[in-house]
């Protein structure tokens, strides 16, 4: 028998569908396996015991009440950004521009804080900031949508490039408003007067972002599940031809959905400046516009599942920071660990959708079992 004609021992086949508890088990297993690999790797390379590794990781997120609050706030912000990009993703509009849209929102908020603090009462200033941020984010989202709708431009590149433009615009204004002269940074705006700072809710600076995230989750969930808009954008995502056939104005839906994504990103910009940072830097988003893409995908665009995926990402991030400082390791090492965990998690999706089976001819008898 010719060796080359031998059938492979295994083959891959698509699963019909996995019951939810099985698919959850696969995912949890993959995370567990990832942690074990990480712990072993850490032990081999750095000599840190797996016990210490895991407990430090948990300590990084939950070690003190403050750490828990910060963790919650970080989850909230990442969740908000993920929610903002989700409607466009469901439409299969690959919006990589959340960073830029948020930055424009941040810029609008900061501009109002710096230029209007003296002339407006504080409550009005905050409203103006909010409106300006939402509008700025919306404009930054609508531009690529308009070109996509009218000229079918590639939205991935377009939104990506708009990030760099936004960064440079912000850099320009930072130099314009820098304090002190020449330093290339603005510092905390209105640090002593706290004008334009969103008031603390219930005496805690962390509640605002958590509340925003909760409201936004509810809103996006019902928007895509129950509203006509949500239905339309899903149909456009499935097939623009179908959408046209049943009378959906595809161009309108594209622009409208991106206006929403952009507006929400602008709102997050307001949250970052007025609620959290009270300053403007070119790196204020910390690249979370891209992390959000992963969060949204991992959750398969389900707003509720995004709570879990953004939790996971933040947990890893905060744990990694704690580990690098507790064991004086370079943060690149933490990045390796985060990479391993995400690799396992994304890899597990393969086993949710497919199964590997022994090929029929190797164990002929068992073929009829199923």
């Amino acid at each position: 028998m010719d060796k080359r004609n031998r059938a492979p021992r295994f083959h891959i086949e698509r699963r019909a569908s996995l019951p939810w508890h099985k698919s959850l088990a696969v995912r949890l297993l993959s995370i567990l396996a990832a942690f074990i690999v990480c712990a072993i790797l850490t032990m081999i390379i750095t000599g840190v015991k797996p016990v210490a590794f895991l407990s430090t990781m948990v300590y990084g997120s939950f070690g003190t009440p403050r750490k828990m609050w910060i963790t919650a706030q970080n989850i909230a912000v990442l969740l908000c950004i993920s929610l903002a990009v989700t409607p466009s993703f469901l439409m299969k509009f690959w919006n990589e521009g959340a960073d830029g849209q948020i930055l424009m929102g941040c810029l609008a908020s900061s501009a109002c804080m710096i230029k209007l603090s003296d002339s407006l009462p504080n409550w009005l200033l905050i409203i103006v900031m909010l409106v300006a941020s939402v509008a700025a984010g919306m404009v930054w989202g609508v531009i690529p949508a308009f070109f996509k709708a009218q000229f079918n431009t590639n939205e991935t590149l377009f939104t990506l490039m708009l990030n760099y433009i936004a960064t440079q615009i912000v850099a320009y204004f930072i130099v314009k408003w820098e304090v002190p002269k020449g330093s290339g940074q603005i510092g905390i705006i209105n640090q002593n007067t706290e004008l334009g700072w969103f008031p603390q809710l219930f005496g805690s600076k962390y509640i605002l972002s958590i509340l925003t995230a909760a409201l936004m989750t509810a809103f996006i969930y019902s928007y895509i599940r129950y509203s006509k808009h949500g239905y339309e954008l899903t149909v456009v995502g499935e097939s623009t031809r179908t959408a046209k056939y049943i009378g959906i104005d595809v161009k309108r839906v594209i622009v409208r959905t991106m206006a929403l994504s952009g507006a929400l990103a602008g709102l997050i910009g307001f949250l970052l400046v007025s609620g959290i940072n009270h300053t403007l830097t070119t790196t204020i988003t910390g690249g979370q516009g891209f992390t959000a893409v992963m969060v949204s995908w991992l959750a398969q665009f389900n707003p509720i599942a995004m709570i879990a995926t953004s939790f996971l990402i933040i947990f890893l991030e905060r744990g990694a920071i704690e580990i690098s400082s507790a064991f004086t390791l370079n943060q690149s090492f933490s990045a390796i660990l985060t990479g391993i965990i995400l690799f396992f998690l994304i890899g597990s999706e393969f086993f949710v959708s497919y199964r590997i089976r022994k090929s029929a001819n190797t164990e002929t008898g068992k073929e009829q079992d199923k």
Partner: protein, 397 residues
């Protein structure tokens, strides 16, 4: 399914066993603990210089320390400072200018913890009992490094490589910020003190760390006929560009001899160890720490690396030693107003923006006894004049 369940159970059990082991808490008396916040990690020469000093100071004083790297200049800096305070740090240091406002926020919240911020400008106006600024009279170090540069130019002129009028220095700066201006001006004055025909061109990158921009800046300057390069930015960009083209380089933040054996002359840097030690000791012993601490040559804060004899002119080390003594004796002042002019005129009076405000209001007279009194009104430099002989190629940043 059973198999799957079994695997999960095994994993869960083994993990819970593993996590049971962590219960033994350390019950020894809490050691004095210090926290450090760095903008980048050891890949940046600027942060590396801080990290080395932090480790050296803490190990010498036998105190616990926590290093937090890659902390951005946002609310994250406040959060990190607060977490360090929560975890029992008695002092928290931060190394980047943009950390300042967030350190002040933390200082207001934790009155019992000291917050010491290097390169900041606001401690003397905030008037908080537990918030401090620190810097060093690095302009003196720059001046000394400038002497080495001037002597190298003289050597090249004497060797007939170019005429005295062509003795042009190139300088790559980060921002048009007082710290940078003070740095390149003192460097230039040092060079001109030995090579009177020297001129200088400065280009800015708009970033404290941008290897490509710094390299390009150095290449541009060399293309424009600069015979010697120096920089105030934190990457290896400029030194590498110089080594590639065989142009002598005076570095900053530390020696670049290993990568640039043929062109590295000397480098000035701030050694933060004396400050860290003084602050930690003051907090431990309950004594006071100056609101603005300016390290000097005498405190060991301003340092020059070894002179690289392969690239430097003969006698460089002796000239540096002589000038160091004169600076310490007070007979030599870097910004002596008889040695430079602004707009063709000697300087007799100048109000500097010492108290930081968004309008950059000039507020403090800094010309005293015939010299510009740098780093005396506050620790961070405030010399921001454009003196004759230095040309700025771009001022976008």
């Amino acid at each position: 399914m059973k198999k799957l369940f079994a695997i999960i159970m095994i994993l869960v059990l083994s993990l819970s066993l593993v996590s049971c082991g962590k219960k033994e808490e350390e019950s020894e008396p809490a050691k004095f603990k210090v926290g450090f916040i760095f903008l980048h990690d050891e890949n940046s020469t600027y942060d590396l210089n801080f990290i080395n000093a932090a480790k050296a100071a803490c190990e010498e004083l036998d105190v616990d320390y926590v290093l937090r790297t890659n902390v951005p200049e946002t609310e994250k800096c406040y959060e990190t400072a607060a977490e360090l305070a929560d975890s029992g740090c008695s002092i928290v240091f931060a190394d980047s200018f943009g950390h300042e406002d967030f350190m002040i926020s933390a200082a207001k919240e934790f009155p019992d913890v000291w917050f010491c911020h290097a390169t900041g400008t606001k401690a003397h106006t905030e008037k908080l009992a537990n918030y401090f600024n620190a810097f060093a009279s690095i302009y003196e170090g720059r001046y000394l490094a400038g002497i080495a540069a001037g002597m190298k130019l003289n050597e090249m002129i004497a060797a007939g490589e170019f005429s005295a009028e062509e003795a042009k220095i190139g300088y790559i700066g980060a921002f048009t910020y007082a710290e940078v201006i003070s740095g390149y001006t003192s460097f230039f004055l040092g060079a001109r003190s030995v090579c009177p025909t020297a001129t200088m061109e400065v280009t800015f990158t708009g970033s404290w760390y941008d290897e490509t921009a710094e390299k390009e800046g150095a290449n541009t300057l060399m293309d424009r006929g600069c015979k010697l390069i120096s920089q105030h930015a934190d990457s290896m960009g400029a030194p590498t560009a110089c080594e590639n083209r065989g142009v002598p380089d005076v570095s900053y933040n530390g020696s670049t001899l290993a990568s640039c054996p043929n062109t590295f002359i000397v480098s000035s840097r701030i050694d933060w160890t004396p400050y860290f030690k003084e602050a930690i000791k003051a907090k431990m012993n309950g004594t006071s720490l100056p609101t603005d601490y300016t390290g000097t040559i005498a405190t060991g804060s301003v340092k020059l690396t070894e002179v690289n004899d392969k690239a430097a002119a003969a006698g460089t080390q002796d000239a540096i030693n002589t000038a160091t003594k004169a600076l310490q004796a007070g007979t030599l002042h870097v910004f002596d107003t008889t040695t430079f002019t602004v707009g063709g005129q000697p300087l007799t009076s100048y109000l500097a923006d010492v108290d930081t405000d968004p309008a950059y209001t000039p507020d403090t007279e800094v010309i005293e006894n015939g010299y510009f009194n740098e780093s005396a009104k506050r620790s961070a430099p405030y010399f921001d004049l454009q003196i004759d002989g230095i040309t700025l190629l771009d001022t976008a940043f």
